[in-house]
């Protein structure tokens, strides 16, 4: 039987696209030139670090950073918009894991709060009357001295760069009335403080950053300590003496005052979280109080920068 043969074209080698071997441009440059280029780049980096540290926030490098960051902003907004549905879907799925225990805890909290509201309303009236009588002057307190209409709302532009830099960039700066060390919150509670201000953007150091420390108190018992970052997203209420009582599920708010000679950036009564666990050992001077924050620091979209009534 005659075989029907026709001309065919076959490709040699693997069916995948082949690429040429890399030809390195720096192999053509001499070693001296190569080293010179790298040395110049390293020197430029070191010079930038030095100048950036030494100059004032209105210096040339800060200005360049402000302009360049503004130029990158539309791209960051675009990327966030594209990724938002996926992040929401992930967040929704992740929250389902804790939904049941969270629901039980919130129900318990609601019952407690209902009974407290009645007692608090009477105490509030009496407190106000006594304050008026005594002409009592107290420090700035949230939310009385920080009206919502004065707060600056801002969207979160960039998320933390790494585990030991828990800082975010927000889309409001000095032109919007944001000042250094202003407190930053969400509807749930305290996020952190403003640690750098440019014209249209600011950097916020979150509570989970190693630089952060906030004087906070447990609402029910009044025990005061210094709140700082702990393992993962948890916080630790440190320096609470053993004789002070702290109970589980108690709400922790900012104390509104510093410890020792240092003041606090934060007004009092901003909710921070609830006491997750309390423990102590014989050798430790202070209690080990773990606080679970109300704010989900890994999923921040927008924040409020608190601006006091009197500035």
């Amino acid at each position: 039987m005659p075989r029907k043969r026709s001309p065919r074209v076959a490709a040699l080698g693997s069916p995948t696209r082949r690429t040429v071997a890399p030809s390195y441009s720096s192999r053509q440059t001499g070693p001296l030139k190569r080293r010179l280029i790298v040395a110049v780049l390293l020197l430029a980096s070191l010079a930038m670090i030095t100048v950036y540290f030494r100059e004032t926030p209105s210096g040339a490098l800060h200005d360049f950073q402000s302009v360049a960051a503004s130029a990158m902003r539309p791209f960051e907004i675009g990327a966030q918009r594209v990724s938002r549905p996926f992040r929401d879907a992930y967040g929704w799925a992740a929250n389902l894991v804790h939904a049941k225990s969270e629901n039980e805890r919130l129900h318990q909290e609601l019952e407690d709060v209902r009974s407290q509201v009645i007692v608090s309303a009477d105490a509030l009236r009496e407190n106000k009357r006594l304050k008026d009588l005594l002409k009592y002057q107290r420090g700035a307190t949230f939310p009385e001295d920080f009206p919502r209409n004065r707060a600056v709302a801002a969207s979160v532009m960039s998320n933390p760069a790494g585990e030991f830099e828990q800082k975010i960039i927000i889309s409001a700066g000095s032109s919007d009335g944001v000042r250094l060390y202003d407190a930053v919150v969400t509807g749930r509670g305290l996020v952190g403080h403003v640690s750098k201000v440019l014209r249209d953007q600011s950097r916020v150091t979150m509570l989970t950053d190693q630089e952060s420390a906030v004087t906070a108190r447990a609402v029910k018992t009044g025990a005061i300590g210094v709140l700082r970052h702990g393992e993962g997203s948890a916080l630790i209420l440190d320096r609470v003496p053993k004789e002070k009582s702290v109970v589980q599920n108690d709400i922790v708010v900012t104390a509104g005052r510093g410890q020792g000679r240092l003041g606090s950036f934060f007004p009092g009564n901003i909710p921070v979280g609830y006491v997750n666990s309390v423990g102590q050992t014989d050798v430790d001077l202070y209690q080990d109080v773990q606080v679970r924050p109300f704010v989900d620091f890994s999923d921040l979209d927008s924040v409020l920068v608190l601006v006091p009534k009197k500035r």
């Binding site: 001309p7 065919r8 074209v9 076959a10 490709a11 040699l12 080698g13 696209r17 082949r18 690429t19 040429v20 071997a21 890399p22 390195y24 441009s25 720096s26 192999r27 440059t29 190569r34 280029i37 790298v38 780049l41 390293l42 430029a44 980096s45 070191l46 010079a47 930038m48 670090i49 030095t50 950036y52 540290f53 490098l61 360049f64 950073q65 360049a68 990158m72 791209f75 960051e76 990327a79 966030q80 990724s83 992040r87 532009m157 960039s158 998320n159 760069a161 790494g162 585990e163 030991f164 830099e165 800082k167 960039i169 750098k196 440019l198 950097r203 190693q210 630089e211 993962g232 999923d299």
Partner: protein, 171 residues
């Protein structure tokens, strides 16, 4: 060379945007992948030491601008990273299949270490435990997962395709 430079600049720009807005939020076991570092490693392996160093400087500058960090901080580290990987690609790692994996693993560890040291030198309060014990192992693992896809993407971008040699069967 100019075209490759432009491609690298654009690629790193978008890598930084994606890193600070999306990838940085992906936390797995306390660590998150570093897309910029992995892309820089791929670029340096494919284009050599000088190209790697310049790319590292550019990526670091963008990173510091985007996160309002100390200008020059990340540039310094990524310049060194790009140069080292480029030299490795030109010499020992040339044509080796495992070169991307080795480079990504080593550079991730060295980058974390030098970043920690630089933070200490600048007086920033950083925890070595958080940086090296908690965050580093998952970050190395995540970067290694990214290494091969990113490397093959960069290979397609930076190395021109060779036309397939064709033979004709007749008769």
């Amino acid at each position: 060379m100019l075209a490759a430079g432009a491609k690298a600049a654009v690629l790193l720009f978008f890598a930084v945007v994606v890193q600070v807005t999306i990838v940085g939020t992906i936390g797995v076991l306390g660590g998150s992948p570093d897309l910029v570092l992995v892309i820089l490693v791929a670029i340096a392996l494919l284009n050599g030491a000088v190209f790697g160093a310049v790319s590292g400087f550019w990526a670091g500058l963008l990173f510091d601008v985007s996160l309002l960090g100390t200008l020059g901080f990340t540039s310094l580290l990524l310049t060194l990273a790009g140069f080292w990987v480029g030299r490795y690609g030109e010499t020992t790692g040339r044509g080796r299949a495992h070169a991307p994996l080795v480079s990504v693993a080593v550079v991730t560890v060295l980058y974390a270490l030098s970043s920690l040291i630089l933070h200490f030198m600048l007086g920033d309060p950083v925890s070595a435990k958080v940086a090296l014990v908690d965050a580093l192992p998952p970050e190395v693992a995540l970067n290694l997962i990214l290494a091969f896809p990113v490397f093959s993407l960069c290979r397609r971008l930076f190395l021109p395709a060779v036309p397939r040699p064709e033979v004709e069967f007749v008769g």
